[in-house]
Symmetry: C2
Subunit: 342 residues, 2 copies
Amino acid sequence: MTLAINQNPKPMSNIRDVARLADVSVATVSRALSNPEKVSPGSLAKVHAAIAELSYKPNMLARNFRSARAYAVLVMVPDIANPFYSLFIRALEDRAQQKGYAVLLGDTRGTPERELEYIRRVETRLADGIIQLRPSSEKSQNIIPPDVPCVNACGCEFTSGPAIRIDNRKAAKMMVDYLISLGHKRIGVISGLRDNPHAIDRLAGYKDALEEAGIPFDKDLIAEGDFTMWSGLNAAFQFCNMDVKPTAIFSMNDEMAIGAMQTLKSNGFRIPEDISVTGFDDISYAKYSDPSLTTISQPAEEMGKLAMDMLLKMIEGEPLSQRECVLPTEFIIRKSTAPVKK
Amino acid sequence: MTLAINQNPKPMSNIRDVARLADVSVATVSRALSNPEKVSPGSLAKVHAAIAELSYKPNMLARNFRSARAYAVLVMVPDIANPFYSLFIRALEDRAQQKGYAVLLGDTRGTPERELEYIRRVETRLADGIIQLRPSSEKSQNIIPPDVPCVNACGCEFTSGPAIRIDNRKAAKMMVDYLISLGHKRIGVISGLRDNPHAIDRLAGYKDALEEAGIPFDKDLIAEGDFTMWSGLNAAFQFCNMDVKPTAIFSMNDEMAIGAMQTLKSNGFRIPEDISVTGFDDISYAKYSDPSLTTISQPAEEMGKLAMDMLLKMIEGEPLSQRECVLPTEFIIRKSTAPVKK
DNA sequence: TTGTATGCGTTATCAG
DNA sequence: CTGATAACGCATACAA
């Protein structure tokens, strides 16, 4: 009698073993798993018994190969550590899981090179389609070959191809309208990078509001950031050093607003008494910043869900009822804004 | 002449097409791709020419099936939207990509049911192994079958199986030592859920420090949270309402500390003049909170990298030089701590 | 309803 | 160094 070190090292049973034990054909086993309704109750029972007996686990690698589908979706994101994207990803993953698809994570670090590496994954059949989280305009979008199914989950006005988005321009206008209604006339902007599609849309909204109120546009009031807290912190210095300082700052996202508030406070500004600050996105920290941040909330959950549904339809060849879906935003007033000082 | 709507709808060429065009055998093409050094320069050139001509993309589904490997790793995380985990995931994904593996995202929402669904993915060969981000003790760990390769990337003292971790107990002690050195004797704790392994380790460190300083442990100074900002906000009320209030609060993560600071400030406490607050993890917001947060920084990048390397070694059958790796933490002093008031 | 037989695209073995 | 060919595990068209 020898010592059994590995007790049943690996049964590794396959569909043939199950068929043999259940005394049916492999075809019946296959059907029992994918189309149970096309199999007699008797056979079904025998198959299930055999599966349990052998603790058979179907080899999905084989199934995927055979059906020429990865049952996986690539989610391409500029930076997973950005809380704004995390929310999307959680919603996307949840929906994919429900529908039997896996989510492959592709953090591009914002570089086209890495995007290409990931796109290659769908060209080599490791993924069936792409959810693009980078906001893209006409120029940048066509990195992705036309034959790969792709949905942009946080698009812009100029995004080509299927997309779920909010109306960035309108939302930005609403925010600036609000600041104007509080009596602010000199409103600074902390923008994203000049060619970022979100930044472009939101700046347009800012200009719309100014124009409607008859306030002339002053390019000196635009500070450029890159959507990070650090860049917001730096951008705010530009306003601290101005001769005629703005009485309000419209930041194009919450993180830059939070960074900016640090600079402003340490330079002696009281928020909102001396200067109002607004954000965009409503990340979870917006509620806990000091003061809490007036901002625009995007329905990230809903957007992720819709984007995934749209992509899966494309993958499965169903017709799209609409190629673009624009969702409403929510305007959230907190403590970082107040009427202009007399 | 007919109108070509689809220009080359899909060549979809396979290895056989390449072989035919290059006038070599499929075996040679296969070798040219995976072991180029075993192929003559002449054949290599012909093969590459044919690949370019046909714009051939190898079918990885077939390769994976044939080699019985998914070349994918499942990352199981309680909540992707938690910034602490995001950092890990970014590092993990980066490393996996470098080594030719994909990352499958598995957000478990903290439930065992969903963990099981994801574990099934590796049992059905869709993933080759698991990176577990949930801190786990003996009891909880063995949900994962012993034959699936798994590494815990942020483990604890009681984590069984391969793990990368920090010394939570020592780090917590160091933080409390520091508070004691500032003269604090009555130090409140905002804990994670009582049975959370991180909470257990860090509470042990707190007690170690107290004992060493001869300060008696008072269980009324422990408030239970769940690592969210909201729970920190609530937990802090417990301290505001005490007769003899603590002069410092040791929060077991940054998010709860940020929540707690909001409660404290709105109840008239000045931080750090009236009360010191400390965090744990050093998420990016810790630097931008008001006041900026004294905390412990974990080397998340390094931990993710090491965890992935360890897992891939296990998957590829290489021997592990060590089953557990404990990394050093960094102690970061910012503005939320000060000597106790006289 | 069930079984038989074929092929999916690749890698690996083995003989030349 | 190269080529012919046999798997890999499953799904499906077709026949029964």
